[in-house]
């Protein structure tokens, strides 16, 4: 691998340099909650944890995104488009699983014919600086869904913490451009590359959860009417925690919000776990109970999405497992299916 290194103590300088000319998003702690947010100084960056509580998806797909603005003025209605900054977005400290996860959004929001302009505006200008996982959590299972703690997919640069320095895997040209502008990096030596490769092997070996998912797509496609769904969903209470904290869930709703003389058409996150998601105006709901909605979640991620787009829409980050109020564990579901 083509590599560079940067001394750990110089990383804040690098980040501060990036902040000068770009919008930089990094893991931070806001009100005791770890999430990704725009930073104005390198000391806001919080790298002291495996996964942030809130995923990085809201950098590309904000929770509430105005699509159109209407203002009533002088008996006329002005329609405006919201301003999305053209500045380059540096997504710093993204875990390899989430970097892979952006691919799911790409597949969902773009096609040959259509591109979601709001998503594209953020995505096109985004540069992903990943941070490899040295110590995956007990709840991580990225290797079961096609990823790995050192996966290069989706990142432009991948940093590996080697103690006093970071090894930097320069993966794309975009990534190379970012590094070229600064003098803080020097070429990696063999010992750096060896150390990074060793760390990668150790990290991968340390992942405890291993589920064989070959053929799950086919298996699930035959299981729609399987009676096992009756028992599976029983303890799920139907909240939105798993979907809102999932880095690859992207379902949304579009609502009109009024603020006096101003109105906004806003895209907001929605979840298939709420009954309202499929409620029709006639009163019919094709997914009337928790059973259908739970089934939908599993089938969408592991059967429908792979069928249409060729990859599993789960990255194995484990947030849904950690935060579920009733400890519904998707790994157990997958094991029982296989």
């Amino acid at each position: 691998m083509k590599g560079k290194t940067i001394l750990k103590e110089r990383l804040p300088d690098f980040i501060d340099e990036l902040i000068r000319e770009n919008l930089v998003f990094a893991p931070v702690k806001r009100e005791n909650i770890t999430c990704f947010d725009e930073i104005s100084a390198s000391d806001e960056v919080h790298l002291n944890l495996q996964n942030t509580k809130k995923p990085s998806k809201d950098v590309l797909l904000p929770k509430c995104e105005p699509l159109l603005l209407f203002e009533a003025k002088d008996k006329k209605v002005e329609v405006k488009e919201p301003k999305i900054s053209d500045a380059r977005r540096i997504l710093f400290g993204i875990r390899p699983c989430e970097a892979r996860g952006f691919n799911v959004f790409d597949k969902a929001f773009t096609s040959d014919e259509f591109k979601d302009v709001y998503y594209m505006k953020r995505r096109e200008n985004a540069i992903v600086i990943g941070m490899a996982c040295l110590k995956p959590s007990p709840t991580c299972f990225c290797t079961s869904v096609g990823g790995s703690p050192f996966s290069r997919e989706g990142s432009d640069l991948l940093l590996v913490d080697l103690g006093d320095r970071y090894f930097v895997d320069v993966i794309t040209e975009k990534g190379e451009e970012v590094i070229e502008k600064t003098r803080l990096f020097k070429d990696a030596e063999k010992r750096d590359i060896d150390a990074a490769e060793k760390a990668a092997k150790e990290a991968e070996a340390s992942i405890k959860t291993r589920i064989r998912l070959e053929g799950i797509q086919d298996k699930l496609s035959k299981m729609f009417d399987d009676p096992s769904w009756d028992d599976l969903h029983q303890k799920c209470v139907g909240c939105g925690v798993c979907t809102f904290l999932c880095p690859t869930c992207y379902c949304f709703d579009i609502v009109d919000e009024s603020y006096g003389f101003e109105m906004r058409r806003v895209r907001v996150w929605d979840t298939c776990q709420f009954p309202l998601f499929t409620q029709q105006a006639s009163g019919v709901n094709p997914r009337p109970s928790g059973k259908e909605r739970m089934r939908q979640r599993i089938m969408h991620k592991f059967s429908y999405f792979p069928e249409v787009h060729g990859e599993i829409a789960c990255i194995g980050c484990g947030r849904c497992i950690r935060e579920c109020p009733v400890n519904f564990d998707i790994r157990e579901v997958l094991k029982s299916i296989m």
Binding site: V237, C239, N327
Partner: protein
Amino acid sequence: MSLETSLREIARKLLEEGQVDVIIGYEKGSLPLQTTPCFIDDADDVDRLVWNESCGNNLAKYLVDRKDKAGVVAKGCDARSIVMLVVEKQVERDKVVIIGVPCSGIIDRRKIVETLEGREMLEATIKGDKVVVNVEGSEEVFAKEQFLCESCQTCEHRNAPIYDVFVGEKAKETKSMGETSLSELEKMTASERWSFFKRELGKCIRCYACREVCPLCYCEECFVDQTMPSWLGKTDDESEVMFYHVTRALHLAGRCVDCGACSRACPMGINLRNLNRRVEKRVKELYNYEAGLSFEETPPLATFKLNDPQEFIK
């Protein structure tokens, strides 16, 4: 015989004798200090049942809309929820077998995770009044009392007030010393409280975990989902979030048993109890009512007295 063994025996007997169709209890979870609800309909499976300080979920939640007869493992707060559900005619009394268990508090898992500050909790065991945690290979010990859920610290109903069968000896009831967090809030000015709630509730992501784990939030159509009229929008605007929490507290007035399930469920760690606690305190002072203690008492907002307090009315 240990408590767990007694519990399993009772469950086995209830299933074998056909007194219940299903036992709703707790089984081992997939994370340290976590248990998970389980539904056992086969007497051979009762050994899955556990009972310990991680059994936090309020299982009364699963009783609404059940067609079968269920035996429910119930802590003091859970049993009170069941009583409320019966009073509100959501559950038939003879369709529930309340299996009371002695509870001396639930461990606040999130608090321990927060204290570890990013280090991973690999395993944990509860030994008496200590919680012994394996933190990435090294051992750390926490005093159980300091890491109990807030709702458990002030609990005055550790045992089910009404039950069909009780497992083992009752837990010792304690008189609450009063809440420090609530009294701190009460001392603040309105502006200070507004800032406090703005910040605290500003973390809300509208996942509705609080609503879904609450046994008393059983409305088929929640006010949040109503479109005719539309009370709330779906955005994260501050006013929307406040509206939701204020109205939920209103709807739970005189019905909340302070089981703490909402605060435990909140992924953002918001202390949701503050508002509910304050309302229940005032309900007790104004109408001398505590939820879930008797089948005969009418909930306070479903009735009135001619001499109800009204000094605030012009």
